[in-house]
């Protein structure tokens, strides 16, 4: 059954899109990640124009992060104050990102930059994750306990000024790194169509020393608002959000996530991370391959007044 996407202006198969949403949802449920960094490349592989894939994916992430954040809010594992401060940076970053997005699109370099950013981010995160988790697996085999971070460790981040107290996280740290992190994630959300959890979660744990129990909830909390904001701004400036596409992906995604979460309980953490790391590397290689291999057609067409409507 095919469906016409009103904004992408193309006919696509509902089942393929639903399947993609469900598959990525399954993985995100299993690994506890957002899935945007897998979904956007998949949409591009399926010939959805990158500009539409990125903006639409931001819309989908609103749904998945809201669903996830509700559970954390109920459990009380969200540091709202920290989330708000991240959000200030996030909104700033997303605004700049949408502006950069429009400029790149006019210059005809948007698709290239999206691909390069994905290759860089997926490549580095995929390798780190794979190496680290293989190391952890070896340790577990030898019978040594897996590493636990010792509380009370301090790094240069904690020497910065403008300190703010976060009661929930039992933290007293400078606002600067939080705002910078927020800006970075906002940029990624608007240019790459990702929630940014894969940057934010490790940064919060290793750099800010936020307790692990509030990290995911707080990250999801701020992702809701940054992606919602990105969706609105992309709609207003670039008209690249396709709600029909987003809705199919959302429904597939939330259903897949349920089964993924159930499957995730049966696998061990380290094994999961090896799998995810390898998968991230595979997507990275595929995107990288497309960048360096000679294209089927050296020429491409686009309307000259992009974003201007009629």
């Amino acid at each position: 059954m095919s469906i016409y996407l009103p904004i992408a202006e193309m006919s696509v198969s509902v089942f393929v899109l639903f399947g993609m949403g469900a598959a990525v949802g399954f993985l995100s449920g299993m690994f506890g990640v957002g899935g945007g960094f897998l979904m956007t490349p998949l949409l591009i592989f399926y010939n959805i124009p990158p500009a539409i894939a990125v903006a639409t994916e931001a819309n989908q992430i609103v749904a998945s992060s809201f669903s996830g954040a509700l559970a954390h809010l109920r459990k009380g594992t969200v540091d709202v104050k920290l989330g708000m401060l991240l959000l200030v940076g996030g909104i700033t970053g997303a605004t700049g990102g949408v502006y950069i997005f429009s400029a790149l699109r006019t210059a005809g370099q948007l698709d290239l930059i999206i691909s390069i950013l994905y290759v860089v981010f997926l490549g580095s995160i995929g390798s780190l994750m794979t190496i680290e988790s293989i190391g952890a697996l070896r340790k577990v085999k030898k019978g040594a306990p897996s590493d636990r971070r010792k509380p009370g460790q301090h790094n240069w981040i904690h020497g910065l000024p403008f300190k703010v107290r976060f009661r929930k996280s039992k933290l007293y740290v400078s606002a600067i790194p939080i705002l910078v992190l927020g800006v970075l994630v906002g940029l990624l959300a608007s240019i790459m169509g990702v929630g940014g959890g894969f940057i934010m979660v490790p940064a919060m744990i290793y750099l800010l020393h936020v307790p692990t129990n509030v990290v995911i909830g707080t990250s999801l909390f701020q992702i809701i608002f940054v992606t919602a904001y990105t969706t609105i701004i992309q709609s207003a400036t670039n008209q690249t959000v396709d709600v029909v596409l987003a809705f199919i992906l959302m429904v597939g995604g939330v259903i897949g996530a349920q089964f993924g979460a159930a499957a995730g309980h049966k696998l061990r953490g380290e094994q999961l991370r090896v799998l995810l790391g390898l998968m991230v590397l595979a997507v990275c290689l595929r995107l990288g391959y497309d960048l360096v291999v000679i294209p089927d057609d050296l020429f491409s067409l686009s309307f000259s007044n992009v974003g201007g409507g009629h």
Partner: protein, 261 residues
């Protein structure tokens, strides 16, 4: 006497003219639809262009000297053609050229291949057939030198449009019913652009265009798709808010449905 011979000469001249220039044939055409609705299940459609040759010369008809060509042109927009080049191992869009008013859709429908309908200079002059379409170069983009050939860019434009089936030549899709009535079946692909399409029928006698008629039809989104599209383009902010609301609702429903406690 003088008057009579003058009359005779005049009649002969008129007859000669008749042989060369026929007797004022005109085309009448119509389209089977005024509007082509594009809904969520739209997967392309076929429309018919009907017509007749009025005041046709029976002799010319009998000798199959009339040819009818029908073109359909979609809404025109400026188009950028970009070329990739390898820079530091990566394929990057480097040069571009912008063409003015390129139709979003173009098809020519004929009984026999278009090339046979008239001499190539006539087809070229009348811009009949994909290879004879000319687009005005609007800007040279960032092309380094002024003297570079632009042919590869316009060739690429046509090649890509042909691959996308947005430029087509439909040989054999036009047929005559009797000597003066004709019918052309025009295939509109699933990706046919939204907007006003111009249908022009050309009447050719012995390879010369002697008349042309133009009618129009609209391709438009209907119902939900139309509403979405118009909202997105006319009030992006409201559209974005709606998209977020939809996402929040979906996320909330999912959370309620799958809550396990």
């Amino acid at each position: 006497m003088v008057v009579r011979s003058l009359q005779l000469v005049l009649t002969m001249v008129l007859m000669l003219c008749g042989l060369l220039r026929a007797n004022g044939e005109t085309l009448q055409i119509g389209v089977s639809v005024d509007d082509v609705p594009v809904s969520s299940s739209f997967a392309g459609t076929k429309i018919y262009v009907f017509g007749s040759i009025e005041h046709s010369d029976p002799t010319a008809s009998a000798l199959y000297e009339y040819t009818v060509l029908v073109t359909v042109k979609g809404p025109e927009r400026d188009l950028v053609v970009r070329k990739k080049e390898k820079v530091l191992g990566v394929w990057i869009n480097t040069h571009s050229q912008t063409y003015a008013k390129v139709p979003g859709f173009y098809t020519i429908v004929s009984a026999l291949p278009v090339e046979g309908a008239a001499a190539s200079d006539v087809l070229k002059k009348t811009h009949l057939g994909v290879r004879n379409l000319n687009f005005k170069l609007l800007s040279r983009g960032n092309w380094p030198e002024s003297g570079q050939p632009t042919a590869e860019f316009s060739e690429a434009l046509k090649r890509i449009r042909l691959n996308e089936e947005l430029f087509t030549e439909q040989d054999g899709a036009l047929s005559f019913i009797g000597n003066t009535l004709f019918r052309a079946g025009v295939e509109l692909p699933a990706n046919v652009p939204i907007g006003r399409h111009e249908v022009t029928a050309y009447l050719l006698l012995r390879g010369e265009v002697i008349d042309r008629k133009t009618v129009w039809f609209n391709v438009q989104k209907v119902g939900f798709e139309r509403w979405i599209y118009e909202l997105a383009h006319k009030n992006g902010l409201l559209y974005g808010l709606m998209a977020v609301l939809l996402a929040i609702t979906t996320g909330w429903i999912a959370n309620v449905l799958f809550r396990r406690e």
